[in-house]
Amino acid sequence: MVTDLSNLSAASLLAIPEHSPERLFGGGADDIKKAFRLLAMKWHPDRNSEAGAHRVFQHIKCLYEKSAERLEARGGGVLQLAAVDGKHYEINYLRCHRFELGSMYVAGTVAAFVIDLAHADLVEAAERMIRKLDYADDRMRQQIAPHLPASPFAGAFRTAHAWVIVMRKRPDQLLLRDVLEHLGGRLHPRHVAWVVSSLLNLCCYFQHAGIAHNALSLDTCFLSPPDHSVAVLGGWWYAARLGERMTAAPASTIEWAPHGLLDRKRADIRTDLELVRAIGRALLGDIGGSRLERDGAAPQAMIDWLRLPASSSPIDEYRTWRTQVLHDSFGARRFAELPLTQSDIYAVDPR
């Protein structure tokens, strides 16, 4: 979040994208309100006769409203669900996120997905896909399985209006979207590096398993700061076997996947590889990638790799990333501690 609000120029305020309101308004409800008041005092057209003040004020207002909306969605609570078989469930969740099929409730040890009944086919496909995930040997299982949903799910049931899928997670596993927001819209490139490494490793497994996940994003991946690992828990509704016809995809996939995906509609590992790059760019604060260099968001080698297209081989991608890009970007490997816990992200809200 920007701290010295009164010195911000019109151009720098207008340069804050609408999708990153946290770059201007961070903290809790009171902080946001206070910051907005301060900015309004300076930029409200009744108080500021500069040409363009009206536009700046409108932009600030828009960012404020988006921040307030996000804050509204932040609060935790208790999710009460009545299954059609008569059982009742309660989940103490930390944060709720709307997504294209329904809502995701992030709790300490589970993530619950409440999905509209209209998408029952996607839920069934995800269950089938996750159940069939197999591994070449125990070593691979030990290395990969902790980063994928466990089968059977912790819970799977129907209510009158929705399917509910409950997946286990560890308390140290934090949704990427929440981490990014908590850190003000940008991660240090060293942390982005291990997130990308972890995801590329999973892509190598996806290819081994003959599948494409098709929805890697900030809203489907959870990172573990102590482990330096990423778990892919959400988005399995769109997974498909490589070469087979896809049923659906979220708009974020369509936006960043290789061109022609919509035409072919076939699962392709390049989609996952492109989405890994998009995640890397998003974590550096610019999913489009055009500002990364100007902002000095990361070492040049890393920026170049994130902006260029993915090849079709996860193994080649992983090898190039580890042996060339990371080396050129950071030199010798060293552990970069990310001191971040669940309570940092979900319990600091003063409301």
Binding site: L14, A15, I16, P17, E18, H19, A51, G52, R55, E100, L101, R245, M246, T247, A248, A249, P250, A251, I254, E255, W256, A257, P258, H259, G260, L262, D263, K265, E274, D286, G288, G289, S290, R291, R294, R307, L308, P309, T320
Partner: protein, 304 residues
């Protein structure tokens, strides 16, 4: 760039100055103007007080062989039509236009020339600075991929950075797309170091992150006249319905504006019929089966 407004009177004066002149009297450069050299530069389309909701539009014109007729038509009439119809029909607001001269990356001295993004008469002045090299290599393609790479790697546009709205990129010519961008060409033309060559599909993935990409096939071009099915097949394999067939090169501006209107969600037939006389026929032919897809509608879930 792009910090001024279009003035119809400026354009009238500029267009009038071309009357009775030969192409070589309008396009007088005999080499690439240093200001149009893409080597090591970035082009910016920025919001300003007079253009607060800018939208970046790139028009890449093939200037090899006889294709110089396209640039000529744009300098005489097309550019004015393009800007004025965008301002009138508003497929997007506050257009910032960048024009490119496209040559052959294998053989030409100026494989790519680029103006700034401009919103006023300066775009006409810079368009006329383009060197009509009239080269081309006797191969079956021209450097249509060069504006793609340049747009992806060397432009910064507020419409996308601030509002998440993609810009528009149109390439125009009569030949086939090349197979790939060679790393050595990227080095020579842009000063960039690529670890490997990039295929057209890869380039399209890159540029499509920030731009809606279209290609206009000039059916009157000599190559297209001889090999039209092959040209269309190769372009459609890349761009699908975003390949526009232009049967009257003097109507390029109307076709570009119409494609933008349809892409922004307007009905294709209504757009075609909004033009008068022969232009309507040319536009309908160009739009083909281009679907009306409002980007705002691309939200949430896409079912295949």
């Amino acid at each position: 760039m792009g910090g001024a407004r279009w003035d119809e009177d400026d354009w009238k004066r500029t267009a009038k100055a071309t009357v009775g002149k030969r192409t070589e009297d309008i396009f007088t450069s005999s080499g690439m103007h240093p200001k149009l050299n893409p080597y090591g530069v970035v082009r910016e389309s920025r919001d300003s007080l007079v253009n607060p909701d800018s939208n970046a539009i790139i028009i890449g014109l093939d200037v090899t062989g006889s294709m110089g007729m396209i640039a000529d038509a744009m300098a005489r009439e097309g550019l004015g039509t393009l800007v004025e119809e965008i301002l009138k029909r508003k497929p997007v607001s506050d257009p910032h236009i960048l024009a490119c001269g496209i040559g052959d990356s294998y053989h030409d001295d100026a494989p790519l020339q680029i103006t700034q993004f401009e919103a006023d008469i300066r775009i006409a002045d810079q368009l006329k600075m383009i060197w009509l090299e009239k080269g081309g290599g006797g191969n079956s393609h021209e450097g249509y991929h060069l504006p793609w790479y340049f747009a992806a790697q060397h432009t910064q546009i507020d419409c996308f950075e601030k509002r998440g709205r993609k810009g528009y990129l149109f390439t125009v010519g009569d030949e086939e797309p090349p197979e790939e961008l060679l790393a050595k060409h990227a080095r020579a033309i842009f000063g960039d170091t690529l670890q490997r060559n990039l295929s057209m599909a890869e380039l399209l993935t890159m540029v499509s992150r920030m731009y809606h990409v279209f290609h206009v096939v000039v059916e009157e071009g000599s190559y297209a006249q001889s090999y039209l099915p092959r040209v269309l097949k190769k372009w459609k394999a890349l761009l699908g319905q975003r390949v526009l067939r232009l049967k009257d090169y003097r109507r390029l501006a109307e076709v570009v504006v119409s494609a933008m209107e349809v892409n922004e969600g307007r009905d294709r037939d209504t757009v075609a019929n909004s033009w008068s006389g022969d232009t309507s026929v040319v536009v309908a032919h160009a739009l083909g089966s281009l679907p009306a897809t409002r980007m705002g509608a691309l939200r949430e879930l896409v079912r295949f």
